[in-house]
Symmetry: C2
Subunit: 197 residues, 2 copies
Amino acid sequence: MSPLALDPAAQDLLFREARTANSFTDEPVTDEQIQAIHDLVKWAPTAFNQQPLRVVLVRSPEARERLAPLMADGNRAKTVSAPVIAILAADYEFHEELPAQFPAVPQVKDMFFSERPVREASATLNGTLQAAYFLIGVRAAGLAAGPMTGYDADGVQKEFLDADHRPIAIVNIGHPAEDAYRPRSPRMSFEDVYQTV
Amino acid sequence: MSPLALDPAAQDLLFREARTANSFTDEPVTDEQIQAIHDLVKWAPTAFNQQPLRVVLVRSPEARERLAPLMADGNRAKTVSAPVIAILAADYEFHEELPAQFPAVPQVKDMFFSERPVREASATLNGTLQAAYFLIGVRAAGLAAGPMTGYDADGVQKEFLDADHRPIAIVNIGHPAEDAYRPRSPRMSFEDVYQTV
């Protein structure tokens, strides 16, 4: 008997058969799909229930033209080909929302997050957790994700965000084209990652 | 029709009904369960297929005694009560494994990761993505996770890790006790998180 409670089809959809896509068909990704992803993965955990992740969905030809030159050379063509591109960013002023998000202890905002460097570290950690939940959510919607860290972060921040929002990753989203997948690379063994004390 | 491909029972298991647990029963968590979690979530994506996450499973009474004083006051009791506690850490020397992990472009190791500050940032980002995948994996195993960021990070590093391994989060894992869950706190709306350009 498998030690997992998650059924095998869901395991395949989210992890075993899901792959990073490098090219996409013309089939659109709707706002309804993105909203369903949000409404699912918003429940995943963060520290003090903080929710620093902000997302800019790049759809228009004009916005694509602004983004393309900011991508690393190896990422530009696939980014242009994606039906929608999500710029995932951390909000360094997330603490303003904390009293509403963590009503059990509203003073957390001032106890822990009155200083900007602390907020930046916390927004980066928790925003990155939320970025990973988002990637799982894209797969839960039956879509392919192509997450990328190769881009001009300062340029993306200046062009699409502001001084309080820092890019975490950029994600191409769509339906995979026939040549979307590269050969799968090896993963580390349980024994090489885990130790018990 | 739901815009999600993931079946509703899996949505509930991983996101909607899963909750952060604050107390646990005595029922053990086996190594087989942890290994099954690893063998599922190891397939989730990272940049250049890097795999900086390392995990110390705290099980023995002696190791628990070393960990307890390093936890924040509000986290100590629940940490002691968990059948197993996972210290999730980022390996700042992960690049040594990269040629094997990213065989398509083995020179990535030297092209991008020859400098330690770059490795630290990359290990933190990608290790945090892997930490989120691990939390989803714990839930996929039908277990409850209690992730925590409130601990003495320098102390945990000194006591359980080394100069090349930095804690990301500490996660209590087990079966939830009757009083495990606090009331669920609100989440941000789609409109407040997303914008389209």
